[in-house]
Structures are given as structure tokens and as C-alpha cells.
């Protein structure tokens, strides 16, 4: 039976062989045919030579989670051939380079094997060694266009626009596409039973990764300084900030830049620069991953206690220590929430889509200045580095930045006596002044040592307590400013809570569970501290599944810490293998819970 627009294809390549752009072109072509797609890079911590995989999932139902098995495998890496063959679904398609023979014992009679003499085709057509290497990838894309029945001119016009200005490259690329396409058209049954068909399911959406989205959000949010230290998977936040700022933030007349990027000597210095700039009234951010957060701890505590705005993006990877630097996880939650010694705590934003990365990035700068404290936007490799279908970015030109409570010269003139930490408005947030504002009023000494509300150093116990209590009052103000959770009631008896990139497979999981007779109400956490709707949701259900991509159920601890909820209330579903959690995994874990505990799989009809 022929299926349309519903498959997972995996490309098995060797790192550094130039496959990324060909694979990306394939995904983009599907997207341009109006088919919802998402992509996933599975790559090693290595520059050249090790195996890498690239997956594209096309799905009209928009089921975008990772699947363990794939429908089509383009097996271009001899080293992983066995593993790749085994990853195919029964009835799936194996596409391989048939130029040389391949191991007999790896034949599978339950899959379709499609041998294309890719190397031979290339050798006959191209003589330049570099082109011979690169165009292998283009050849299989050409073959796929016929096998899947794609619109060929979508591909050729992409080549034309990609190499605009380097016109010499257009013809050879198109030639390579044709080589692959013509071979399968001539010698193989085409198309396969898995096919694509132009659809109108993409609308005005875009294909982008979370890191680029966050960088654009930082530009729109008014960030002027990006201070950072390279670390996978966060590096492209700084790279794309530079790319876009170099276009969007340069004065057309003077050619001078309304931004600066500093590659710091380490993460301590990166966050120090961000705090120094924040103290002096400029919007600044850093982007990092777990090990960087560890190094930033002391400074984050200073910024919390000295009340200086700062924005940090933590694109999480698998830890502890160097862990698996090119794998994804949600395991920095506690280390970020409490980053630093003493009674320190930080608000967290938890985007789930590129659009939300953009929005939360821009919002983070308003928030940080409003609350005069670090705000940490937590994503992960899965969201940060993979292009996925997203709502387009939006901006309202009438939106005004919220620069928070900052007194200027005129304000200070009106004031009898200025006190940096006096809680004038009762929301726990005092008024800042910036260096250089007034000759005789408003100066104060910023420090991490205890002080009274007039910013005067003191070790007096009561003054210290008053200050810490005010910071807690501010915490409640912060709570009221955070984006609230997304709640969906489906008449389920139990609830399921998730956050971040678990959102991607959740749609599919909930659908599959429902088919199995288990209907769950859901809540997606979007920030910490938690809003009242989180406590309400938990209270309203006897059982709550809590899905996290870490070993120790860190969100459970955070919910208990922040809302005083009995941790026994939660049934944790934990995945921490470093790949993004799959829909099947969630379904299996929930289902098993019902089976093991011999519970009726009730669908609640609420009275």
C-alpha cells in the first residue's frame, strides 16, 4: 500500500564528508513541497572521520518525535552498515552504494534493497577529487527524488539559489542530481511505496533551529553584548547572533556596530562581562552549556545577590562532566535553578519550539531588567541544533522594551534620599541607578557582601534577614511575570507534565495513548518559578506522570521545592540516553504503569 508524506528517512554518513548540505537540501525540498518536516542531527564529538546520521521525519500529522526504527535508510557509511541495516522497519527501504559488493550476512529479506552504483556514476562523470567526494551526497538526493516521486524542479531551483553568484557550481550540482535520478528511473522500479505528494500543510511556517531563533530573539530584544566561550551545542547562538547582527545592527552611514561580540577566555569571564554590562545599563547575554554553567556559578550568585540583570542561554547536553557533548538532555535543571552557593535561586524560561526560543529570548531581556537578576533560558541540543518546523517569528513594532526601574537625573533630583535596596513599591524590587547619572545623588556600591537597604555594608543579622526576605518577595513578583503553562484538558483521569523538547513527541504519545484507551490531561511547563496553574493541575489529579530527560527526576525536586508538593504524587518517566525521548518510550512507560499496577485504563468522563 502506498503511503504519502509519512516516513522517517535516515542518512548514515561519515563526519566531514560534506553530507550536511545535501541532506539539508533534501529536507528543505520536502518542506517547500508543503510537507511538514523536522530534522535531527546525530553526530559525534569529532570533526572528521566518525559516523554521523541525519534524520528527516516527514509527517502530515506532525508527529515529529524521534523514532527508534526508520522507514528509509541511506547507508553511506561502511563502518555502521550493520547497525544501519538493523535499524530499518520491516518493509522499509535500504539504499546503498552498490559499486562494490557488501557483506552477505547483512542481507535482510524483509526490507527492500535499492543498490545504486553511486561511486561508479561519480567516477564516470567528475574528475576533481573534492567534487567526487561531495557529489556522492548529491547523487543520492537525486535518486531519492525519483524514488519518492519528488518534484525535481524544487531541487534544481534550490541549487540555483544556493549557488547564486557562484554560477560555475550550479551546473555540476544539477548534473549530479540528474545522475542519481536518471539511474533509478532507468534501472529500478520507481517510485517506492513510500512517496511524497505536494501538500498545503506548512502554511506560513518556517524551518529553523532553536539557536538561531534565540540569537534573533536577542537581537530583537535589544542585546548589545554577546560574551561567550565556545561549547557544543550552544556555539551557534553566538555565531548566528554575529551573522544577523552584522546585517541588522550596523549603522548604514558610519558602518559602526550597535553590538559587540567578545569570545572570552572562559565562561567565568563571559558571564563577568555580561554582568558588568548589565550593571552599566546595556543588555548583554552569554550562551553556554552545562560545563559553562558550572563555571559561572559564583558570578550568578553575585548577580542574584547584588541584583544585576543578565541573560544566559543554556543549551543543554548530556552530563555529568564532559558527558556526551553531542547528545541531548534536560539535566542542568537543578544546577541552573540553584546556580551558586548560599540561598541563591534563578528564574528559568523553558521554550519548546524555535518560535518560543525567539520569544523567550527577547522577553528574557525585559524580564532581567525588570527583576534585576539573571534570567536563564534553557533549551537543549535537540531544540538548539536541529531545524524544525516552526511558526514564523513575530514582532509588534509598538512594543516598547521594559527597561525596569532605573532612575535618571531628573528622577534623582526629585528624591530626598536614594536607597538602592529600599522596597518602595512593595514588590521586592528596588530602583537602580546607572554610573555617571548624577553628580551627587544616586551613587551606591554594588557588592556581594551583605548590606542594608541603603547599600551600606553590614553584618547585622536582622539587616541580612530583611534583605533575604525581600529577595523572596521579589521571587513572588517574578512568579507573576513568568509565562504560564499550557494546559490541555481531555477528560482524562490522570495528568501528564512535561517541558522543553519532550513537547515534540508528546503530541504523538498522547494520540497513541488515547488509541490505547489511556486519556491524559496534559500540562507543559514553560517557566520556573511555577505559576498557580501548575499547583492547580497537580491538585486536580490523583496521579501525575512527569516526563523528564534526566536520571534523577530534577523537575520533580523543583516542583516539590517551589510548590511544596509531595513527590510521591508523581510517577516519573525518565529517559537519559542522550537522544531525544521518543513517543513510543513515553507510551510504553505510561502503559506499563497501568499494566504493572493492574489499574483500569480509565477514560474519565467528568460529571
Amino acid at each position: 500500500m502506498t503511503s504519502f508524506n509519512e516516513f522517517v528517512i535516515r542518512f548514515a554518513n561519515v563526519n566531514g564528508s560534506g553530507s550536511a548540505s545535501a541532506n539539508g537540501m533534501f529536507a528543505k525540498a520536502l518542506f517547500r513541497m508543503g510537507i511538514p518536516v523536522t530534522t535531527r542531527n546525530i553526530f559525534p564529538s569529532n570533526i572528521q572521520g566518525l559516523p554521523t546520521w541525519f534524520e528527516v521525519r516527514a509527517s502530515s500529522r506532525e508527529y515529529f518525535g524521534r523514532r527508534d526504527k526508520v522507514d528509509i535508510m541511506v547507508a553511506m557509511n561502511a563502518e555502521t552498515y550493520k547497525e544501519d541495516v538493523n535499524r530499518l522497519e520491516s518493509g522499509g527501504y535500504l539504499i546503498y552504494d552498490s559499486t562494490r559488493g557488501r557483506p552477505r550476512e547483512l542481507y535482510r529479506d524483509d526490507v527492500h534493497e535499492i543498490g545504486i552504483p553511486i561511486t561508479k556514476l561519480i567516477l564516470s562523470e567528475f574528475s576533481d577529487p573534492k567534487q567526487r567526494q561531495l557529489f556522492k551526497n548529491i547523487v543520492y538526493v537525486g535518486s531519492l527524488s525519483a524514488l519518492l516521486d519528488m518534484e525535481f524542479d524544487v531541487l534544481t531551483s534550490m541549487v540555483a539559489s544556493q549557488y547564486r553568484g557562484k554560477d560555475k557550481l550550479i551546473q555540476p550540482n544539477i548534473r549530479a542530481l540528474e545522475l542519481g535520478r536518471n539511474y533509478v528511473l532507468k534501472y529500478l522500479p520507481c517510485p517506492m511505496e513510500i512517496q511524497v505528494k505536494r501538500a498545503d500543510l506548512v502554511g506560513d511556517r518556517i524551518l529553523v533551529d532553536g539557536n538561531e531563533a534565540a540569537a534573533l530573539g536577542a537581537i530583537y530584544g535589544g542585546a548589545t553584548l554577546c560574551a561567550w566561550y565556545p561549547i557544543t551545542p550552544s556555539t551557534s547562538v553566538a555565531d548566528t547572533f554575529e551573522k544577523h547582527a552584522s546585517r541588522l545592527r550596523v549603522d548604514p552611514k558610519t558602518k559602526k556596530k550597535n553590538f559587540a561580540i567578545i569570545q572570552a577566555e572562559d565562561e567565568l569571564s563571559a558571564i563577568g562581562m555580561v554582568i558588568g554590562a548589565g550593571w552599566n545599563g546595556a543588555r548583554a547575554f552569554t550562551a553556554t552549556s552545562g560545563p559553562g554553567i558550572s563555571l559561572m556559578n559564583e558570578f550568578l550568585g553575585l548577580a542574584y545577590f547584588a541584583e544585576v540583570p543578565a541573560v544566559v542561554f543554556d543549551v543543554q547536553r548530556a552530563g555529568p562532566s564532559t558527558g556526551m557533548p553531542t547528545r541531548t538532555q534536560q539535566s542542568d535543571l537543578l544546577s541552573v535553578a540553584f546556580a551558586s552557593h548560599g540561598d541563591t535561586k534563578h528564574p528559568i524560561l523553558l521554550p519548546a519550539t524555535p518560535k518560543e526560543c525567539f520569544d523567550f529570548a527577547a522577553d528574557a531581556f525585559d524580564l532581567a531588567e525588570r527583576i534585576q537578576s539573571p534570567v536563564i533560558v534553557m533549551t537543549d541540543l535537540e531544540l538548539g541544533m536541529n531545524q524544525t518546523l516552526s511558526d514564523p517569528f513575530q514582532w509588534d513594532d509598538s512594543r516598547q522594551y521594559d527597561r525596569g526601574k532605573v532612575l535618571d537625573f531628573e528622577d534623582l533630583e526629585q528624591i530626598e534620599r536614594y536607597g538602592r535596596y529600599v522596597d518602595v513599591d512593595g514588590d521586592g524590587i528596588g530602583y537602580r541607578t546607572l554610573p555617571g547619572t548624577h553628580p551627587s545623588k544616586g551613587s551606591f556600591f554594588t557588592r556581594g557582601s551583605s548590606r542594608n537597604e541603603w547599600a551600606v555594608y553590614t553584618e547585622d543579622a536582622q539587616s541580612y534577614i530583611n534583605n533575604m526576605d525581600r529577595l523572596n518577595k521579589k521571587w513572588e513578583t517574578i512568579r507573576s511575570l513568568m509565562p504560564s503553562s499550557e494546559v490541555e484538558h481531555r477528560n482524562g483521569r490522570a495528568g501528564i507534565i512535561y517541558f522543553g523538547t519532550t513537547t515534540t513527541p508528546m503530541n504523538e504519545s498522547l494520540g497513541l495513548l488515547d488509541e490505547n484507551g489511556i486519556t491524559l490531561n496534559s500540562l507543559r511547563i514553560r517557566s520556573y518559578p511555577f505559576g498557580p496553574e501548575v499547583a492547580e493541575f497537580i491538585d486536580a489529579h490523583e496521579k501525575i506522570f512527569l516526563v523528564e530527560q534526566n536520571r534523577d527526576a530534577q523537575m520533580k525536586s523543583l516542583l516539590s521545592f517551589d510548590l511544596g508538593i509531595d513527590p510521591k504524587k508523581f510517577v516519573s518517566i525518565l529517559y537519559y540516553g542522550g537522544f531525544s525521548i521518543s513517543a513510543d518510550y513515553i507510551v510504553d512507560e505510561v502503559t506499563e504503569h497501568y499494566v504493572v499496577n493492574k489499574l483500569p485504563r480509565l477514560r474519565e468522563v467528568e460529571s
Binding site: 534573533l216 537581537i219 563571559a270 517569528f393 522594551y401 555617571g436 551613587s443 554594588t446
Partner: protein, 351 residues
């Protein structure tokens, strides 16, 4: 932003500077350091220098790390904002602050523990980045605030208060600063305000990274016999090689030096820096020979002081980065937010 301060009624004995402020306007709360601590003399020199420069106090921003030395920004320029950050990391705070607003004068105060141990990395990198500031290390060869452990600037063989000799070679911040590209490098002694005040004035006016290593004895933990950072030892072993004096535009030049021994350097505000060579062989504009001289003196147990290296018209961090003339913290939303139309183009490019 510049504000002309209102003239106030003054005690007739308090001398006012060009902008009508007295020395008291440059002071702050009373120090809580030990009586006789060298750091207090450095603060006094900063107060005097800034007063003489006639720069309004609020046009300064003070930054520091952690230590007795790093506490001292509380004790000068009370009308300026200050940031007492974390141990060894003042350079990154200073860099961020300077990137946010290039119009203020930055004074950084650090200690030898702060800059030569925990913060050596940041010290090196702020020099590379050419942040425009005056960076002072109150160098006492010890960790004052944690009660007298050896610091990395302590000389080998110099003894602790209990008579234990230091076994490790010292790090010389002056040599490092010259080597890493600082455009103004000086060394002085907290007990020699004649030398120190003009150096601070010149460092503040210098456009570029100005570093002053001030030997500043710790009376509590490192002022005994056997220490090479005690008042007595430093007094007996300093070797002033360059004498710097700053001639303000309105000043009359009173002393005439013999030709050939003075170098005159015009400063950006119209004043003039006069350097008088006390040692014939000294070349303060040549990195290699300055470095050699400083290190030779050190080999001989002498401490070369004065303005040891000067590169005029050095580029600074903002020049390198090509940033806007308006300080970042003064940019309006219009110059920061590209707006909806541009965003639509970006959306299109992602389709």
C-alpha cells in the same frame, strides 16, 4: 551625560579645583583597613589625583575584586558608582562595563592575590583586549584579607611573619603587562605619593589600558624584617627610572629640565605629560628594552619604579570592535530593534 555641578559654599581653607570641587568631594566613607595599611595611601593618592584632574567624581566608575585592596573603592570617590565583584574577576566586570559605556573613566583596584593568582587569566586577557581603564594592583605580596598567606608576587626567599621562606618564584605583573601589550605600565610605592599621584593622573588620562603596580605594604602580615614588601625594604631598594609629571593646560611650567632628559607627551585633554629620565639607558617607548631593564633590576634585588612603558595613541577595545559612537547603554530602541519588516524578510529566508 555631563552635568555641571552647582557651586556650593566651601570652607575657605579647602582648595577648589577647576570645576569648583574640593578634595572632600572626592572622598568617601572612612576606611576600615588596619592603621598604616599601604592601601589607604593608595586611596588617598587616587583622591588627590582625581581632584587635581578636575574630573567630576560621578564620571568615574570603580571596579574591584575581593581582598583588603578590593575593598578600598568604598573609601574614595563616594559620588561614583562602585562594583566590588568576585575574587580575581574584576577584569571581566570592567570589560563588560566599559563595553556598555565608553564615556566613563574606569578605575580598577585589585590585589596581588586577586590579579596574580586566582585572576591571572583575566588580568592577561583584559590587557589583550585593550580596555581603556586605569588598573591598579595594591601589591603587598600577601593575602591580607585571609590573614597572611604568601601570594604569587612574593619573592622567593622572602619570609613570612613566622620566618618561613617562600619557595616559589614570583610573578611580576609589570613584566607581564609590558609583554601582553599594555600601553601604559608603571610601578610605584604607596609611600611615595610624589611619584604615585602624577602616575595615577596620567594613567586616568591615558587612552588605553594603563596598569600601575603599587607596592603597598601590609602592616599586619608582611611588614617584618625578611619580607621584601615591607616599608623598610621597599624604601631601600626602589630605583626610580622615570619621573613623570603631568602639566595641566593652565599650569605654569616651573621646572626646566636639561634637554635630552625629558620627553614630553601631549595628552588628549590638552595637558602634557613630562617624563624625566633618571637613568640614561632607559627607553620607555620600547617594549623589549623596558622589559629587559625591569627584569635586570629585579635580578639585582632592585625595584624599578616610575612610568616604565608608554605607547601613545594605542588602539582600544572599542576601536578594535568598531562599535557605535553612542555608548551601548545610551542606544535607543530604534537603533537596537530591527522591526517587523526585517523580521518578515528573515521569515521568508527560512521558507
Amino acid at each position: 551625560m555631563t552635568f555641571v555641578p552647582k557651586p556650593k559654599a566651601r570652607h575657605p581653607l579647602l582648595k577648589t579645583n577647576e570645576i569648583g570641587l574640593t578634595r572632600r568631594d572626592y572622598e568617601a566613607i572612612v576606611s576600615t583597613l588596619c592603621a598604616g595599611c599601604g592601601h589607604d595611601s593608595v586611596s588617598a593618592a587616587v583622591i588627590q589625583a582625581c581632584h587635581e584632574l578636575s574630573i567630576p567624581p560621578h564620571q568615574f566608575a570603580k571596579v574591584s575584586g575581593i581582598g583588603c585592596s578590593s575593598k578600598t573603592p568604598s573609601y574614595f570617590l563616594g559620588n561614583a558608582h562602585g562594583f566590588n565583584s568576585v575574587h580575581g574577576r574584576m577584569p571581566s566586570i570592567a570589560t563588560g562595563a566599559y563595553l556598555a559605556n565608553k564615556e566613563l573613566k574606569y578605575i580598577g583596584i585589585s590585589g596581588d592575590g586577586d590579579s596574580a593568582s586566582i585572576g591571572l587569566g583575566q588580568f592577561a586577557h583584559i590587557i589583550r583586549r585593550k580596555v581603556d581603564m586605569c588598573y591598579i594592583v595594591d601589591n603587598n605580596g600577601t593575602y591580607g584579607l585571609t590573614k597572611g598567606q604568601f601570594s604569587a608576587t612574593n619573592d622567593r626567599g622572602s619570609t613570612s611573619k613566622r620566618g618561613v621562606p617562600n619557595l616559589y618564584a614570583p610573578i611580576d605583573l609589570v613584566s607581564l603587562a609590558i609583554q601582553l601589550g599594555a600601553s601604559f605600565v608603571a610601578r610605584s610605592f604607596s609611600g611615595d605619593k610624589q611619584q604615585l599621584i602624577p602616575l595615577i593622573k596620567a594613567a586616568v588620562l591615558h587612552k588605553g589600558f594603563a596598569f600601575i603596580d603599587v607596592i603597598s605594604p601590609c602592616v599586619m602580615f608582611n611588614n617584618h624584617e625578611g619580607s621584601t614588601k615591607s616599608y623598610t625594604h621597599v624604601r631601600n631598594h626602589t630605583e626610580p627610572v622615570i619621573d613623570a609629571s603631568l602639566i595641566m593646560p593652565r599650569d605654569e611650567i616651573t621646572v626646566e629640565y636639561e634637554e635630552g632628559t625629558t620627553i614630553s607627551v601631549p595628552m588628549h585633554d590638552g595637558s602634557e605629560l613630562q617624563l624625566r629620565k633618571l637613568s640614561d639607558s632607559y627607553e620607555p617607548n620600547d617594549r623589549v628594552s623596558a622589559l629587559t631593564y625591569v627584569q635586570q633590576a629585579q635580578e639585582e634585588g632592585e625595584i624599578a619604579t616610575g612610568l616604565l612603558f608608554l605607547e601613545e595613541d594605542a588602539v582600544n577595545c572599542h576601536d578594535i570592535l568598531g562599535t557605535s559612537d553612542t555608548p551601548f547603554n545610551g542606544l535607543e530602541q530604534e537603533s537596537l530593534c530591527p522591526g517587523v519588516e526585517k523580521l518578515e524578510q528573515i521569515n521568508d529566508s527560512l521558507r
